[in-house]
Subunit: 410 residues, 4 copies
């Protein structure tokens, strides 16, 4: 239970901060300025263009990679930075303060989770074909699990199929909230579907690697989240119609979908939570800066009514959350996913709650501006809200935590 | 304290419901389908086109007017429907369930508030020039009060000026969250500015009627609220640079801005709250419908975990809110704005809270869909959130309620 | 939906207030002073003596009765005051501000509920023997329903028996939270027990009138609620061992227990909620008085931090609650218990929540004193907390409200 | 930031648990049984007798001391156990699960804080006279700071005086919430009073050691907290009338009261919070045990409605709290009180909130029993509630946390 930051982690953090301040922040500011630019021009902006990846993104990625600020999430020392989860936590938190940073350092969802799947379960060929270019940032990927037509909180509801026919696996079904499919760089999807309805409940499904250009794969539309499209990556609804792939497209063989999903979602959820700590911190900082600059009724806003109490409550909530996240990282490092299952669900519930609370306060103290795109708060709130559903809704994680808790008494 | 619905109000409600079901709902469904239509087309949608008012809007308005479902908000029996606030409440609640309905029946913000200003304070000429076409739905209007550069929660911070020079009044300054300026039909702005800094705190400001095409008026940009532009009406930032108007553009003469604002904001806020009751009701209905249709872990969602408790809490909260709104309407009817000041602030705080809580639950029970534009929930949540800031942030209204409460002990 | 106070109700309210101020308050103050009197003497106080009814209680009751401030709760114009529930609500609220007042005016739980049972379901003999002296305040009664050995939230769990044997009914079992059995004036218990396990679920139980001195009836002990014994009335655990009574001790005949309970608990719960509105109001008043008198950090407490926001939130919550209670009273008056079932459960959930919130704030602003017996806040909080369990826990009432809500969609 | 439990701490914990299970628990059970014993006897119980320390207490203390489970809180290796705060945390948590344990192991408030004051600031004579017997458990002490007549949340309000007159210091004033003065073993009070009103704000006050039997010292009365007297130790109101003591009764010399208070309250507050973690854990355990044993509507209570969600939320809240407390202990160990000031205030706010929430849930799931003395929940809730005021109300600690937070931006 040692959460102390190692020298290595500290050193990475310093460089990360410097890079974000000097390289990432100016690009973010420019892109943001474009977003809020005058009306006449705006009318021309969205549409197809907004789904292009700006060249600046790629340049930032190249620089980051050149400086070794790359794939920090991956514990493998050769392919990634070789950091433990406890070491990575402060770095992910720092990236979470910026909408752009996770992508710049190749540490963003869903690619990190997908890379981990390939790293742990992929065959040599699968690794060569997909993991390498993902690690290099040359391509992007998506994860196709949730379905529009069933309550996907219960994964056994999954209706899409991945049927083995001879040498092939045939995919059919419809998925949504496939994050990243909006990008022209998205070249591969990890699809989860039902293979054998007669097998044990947790051995019925398979995960299949689907090249984006396979016949029968169609991005039906991009979805907005509370009005945001999160372009140029976005979240899509994707249909699969008689998509045929060779059997070796299945990861780790048929029937292992649940096992892989379990492993995949653990670190992915923890990374989300690490970033949410940073998001909450940055919202608190914005609230304090705005609250001390602006004056009403003869006082800085921060000194009005219950604002200082809310500052204190935010600090308390964030500090508690960060410790719970660190503890989960430490459990992952020392006991693996099996020893961290309740902990992962605990932070999955706690993190977006805390972030939402702090961001809502920050929005309120910014007045109307807090709701607009002039500040990153509306987007931040939406990210936090979405994570209360993404990778399992709160209620499912509460159910898992309760199950573990009750299990202690049996 | 009689909140019983009159026969007249009941009769209007029946017709309103029928009209919404048969006329408005299909158009809403079609427009909504367009919003979520497939990706390829979507890329062409936004931009300039989204700020056009669809011809269907105008047709719906004509029909509504022909059926006498028009200007229901206006207590005046000749110009409006002649309903009391208690009588209007159920009608506004019904309209609040639909994003489109308030506009269809010419009962939407900010036009209703602006019409009331003109009705109560306008000169004969002002009424003829602006009130008549507004009542006829021929033009639309905006209200320019909040400013980007100061904490507008304290209205005395207002920095824009409306200086009297000879026969003219000269406007300078920058306003934002001017709702409605995005529409090509928006022809007039009500601008509030500082006229005499030496006068009594509440007699320094004037309200001025500004034709949209006056030189020096510029819509700088449209603002998004949590990602939504609320097109085709939208919320704009508007600059005023040496805008010169004849003195008779001032409503009720110089220095009466605060007095008018006070009167304007009362009913406007109450209408917002009436509609929020309807918004909360419709979210609860969506939650129940979805929760009974979808199944997870072998049960309808509604029977899982604390969902039924949340249904009950929503019902309790909505019922309490509706009664508080009705009581405020009754106070307005019987004691005027002066006797309803605390009550108006009470519902202004309570209504968006309740709506947010119920809508958030409904979003959660819809899973990812609840965040998307497939359901009206994301937009509904955003409306409720915005009202926690619009027309005065919660904290200012809490302050007023507390002041009244403490005043009882002096 | 007319909640206006009638002239008659207003007139009663004026007299009630005057009587409480001049007659009840001084006695309360004296009894309270005794409670907090110096240590040396205190050591002698509790014990048997505390279960005596002070003579002053009886004198206050006589005076109240002489002035016609008596049995105000009973809608019957001959036996009671003949007030509707809407008319009674402000009177019950006023009584709720004082721990002593409900008893003084013969309007306290559980006697009011028991009197209503006898009024509606009692035979002529039962009325003569028990209802008359209860209405006269000569005796007191208790209600024995909840049992220590089962989860009584599910009434079908009830294990006590009321078996018909020839001309007799034989009672066995153990009940607790029998309020009022501590008083020497308590002469009769209403006991509910299982008569016919084979009958329809809601026709298995009977209610039996049990004279306190019947052989086999034993008060095992008095229970404390959060440390308070609520002497001299108190809450007891009572055992029934082969208690034999003639058949005519059964109210309305065997098997009608559930039906009677349903009818009994409706008005009883509403009265609780009416009083809780008054309790919350008096806590808010205490908070404001203390908060304006005491100074810290150079300001009256009320102006520190979020205190004014809490005042506002309390006012909003209380106003909403009062309206919901009035609406429930109005439903009872106009549609009877059947039309008010959801409403009764709604206020049963809402009222103690609001009261707890306001009282907790008042305690906090009183500092340590707020927890002590120097102020009525600790006792008030405990009353509110207890009502979240008494007459059905929150969760059961939420379940009922949800059931009604979902029923609208079938 | 290493919170891992040391081998030594683990070993103490094992022995502590065993001792509590075999020695303390049976005594607690017996005393508890006495508390709820039948009515007839109960009437004789309270009064003077309840303020006697049962002989069993002393025997338990002797045994605990003999086994080396004694003064575990004191970091000094000779006088205490020599444990760091991080090492002590799990032990204090364990003691917090039992009302009796802290006293048994001589680790209870306010004696631990008082011993620390003497340890750090006492003269050799003061240590010999008071610290030694306190460490030996021969006597007990109280801390007299809060005053009934002023808002003591602002310590500069303090009105009691400690005036130096020649060789003597003369005390006058009235204190309350002096915990422990009810016990016949309480032999010394630490009194804080105003010495020099002209000095710097934080150098005006002195702390004075007052033998309980000094003329002029009078326990005016014992105070109840939410109905509980917490006998035999209790909380008293104490008057000081011309109490004369030699100058060497002043701890560390005149004017150092604030400095000492600051130092004293740090560890004292942390110990409270450590114990609250244990209190919350034990409430959660009780809730789960009861919830799985009792059945309603055909299911164990724990599976009804939102109960499992509440279990999960409790687990999340407790885990976060424990980590925040450990982090504070670690800051105290590594950076001293100066480096832990915000952290101490953070847990002081967070700990009772979490405990209250969990205990309230546990009470609810116990039904009426949860409010009675049959379970330790009512007492536990009261302890938690009291700590929201003791050693500084929440609002003062929130203010301090906010001040530190805002300080980062200056």
């Amino acid at each position: 239970m040692d959460f102390a930051q190692s020298a290595r982690s500290r050193e990475y953090l310093d460089r990360l901060r410097a890079f974000i301040a000097t390289e990432v922040a100016p690009v973010e500011a420019r892109l943001h300025a474009e977003r809020v630019k005058p009306f006449a021009q705006r009318s021309d902006v969205p549409g197809a263009a907004m789904w292009q990846v700006p060249e600046e993104f790629r340049q930032l990625q190249s620089k980051a990679r050149a400086e070794g600020l790359w794939n920090l999430f991956l514990p493998d020392a050769e392919l990634g930075a070789g950091l433990s989860n406890v070491e990575y936590a402060p770095l992910a938190e720092e990236m979470g303060r910026s909408p752009l940073a996770p992508v710049v350092f190749n540490c963003n969802a869903p690619d990190t989770g997908n890379m981990e799947v390939l790293y742990h379960y992929g065959s040599t060929e699968q690794k060569e074909r997909w993991l390498r270019p993902l690690l290099d940032g040359e391509i992007r990927s998506a994860f196709c699990m949730t379905e529009p037509d069933v309550a996907s909180s219960d994964a056994t509801n999954m209706a899409a199929t991945a049927v083995v026919e001879g040498n092939e696996v045939v995919l059919n079904g419809r998925k949504w909230w496939s994050t990243g499919v909006g990008s022209p760089d998205c070249k591969v999807l990890i699809f989860m579907g039902l293979t054998d309805p007669e097998a044990h409940k947790y051995q019925r499904h398979s995960m299949v690697l689907v090249p984006m250009d396979t016949p029968g794969v169609k991005v039906e539309r991009m979805l907005s989240t509370m009005g945001f499209y999160d372009e140029p990556f976005g979240h899509g609804e994707v249909s699969f119609t008689n998509v045929r792939l060779p059997l070796d497209a299945i990861i780790a063989g048929p029937g292992r979908g649940f096992e892989i999903a379990q492993g995949r979602l653990g670190p992915g959820r923890v990374h989300h939570c690490m970033r949410l700590v940073g998001l909450a911190e940055s919202a608190l900082e914005l609230a304090i800066r705005r609250g001390t600059e602006r004056v009403a009724f003869g006082k800085p806003l921060i000194n009005l009514g219950g604002n200082r109490e809310r500052i204190a409550d935010a600090r308390i909530a964030i500090n508690q959350l960060r410790l719970l996240v660190l503890n989960t990282a430490w459990l992952l490092d020392t006991q693996g996913i099996a020893g961290a299952r309740s902990a992962v669900s605990e932070i999955k519930v706690a993190a977006p709650r805390v972030a939402q609370q702090v961001i809502d306060f920050a929005m309120q103290i910014h007045g109307g501006g807090g709701l607009s795109d002039d500040f990153p708060l509306a987007g931040a709130w939406t990210s936090a809200r979405a994570i209360r559903l993404a990778d399992g809704p709160d209620e499912v994680h509460q159910g898992l935590v309760a199950r573990f808790e009750l299990g202690k008494y049996q």
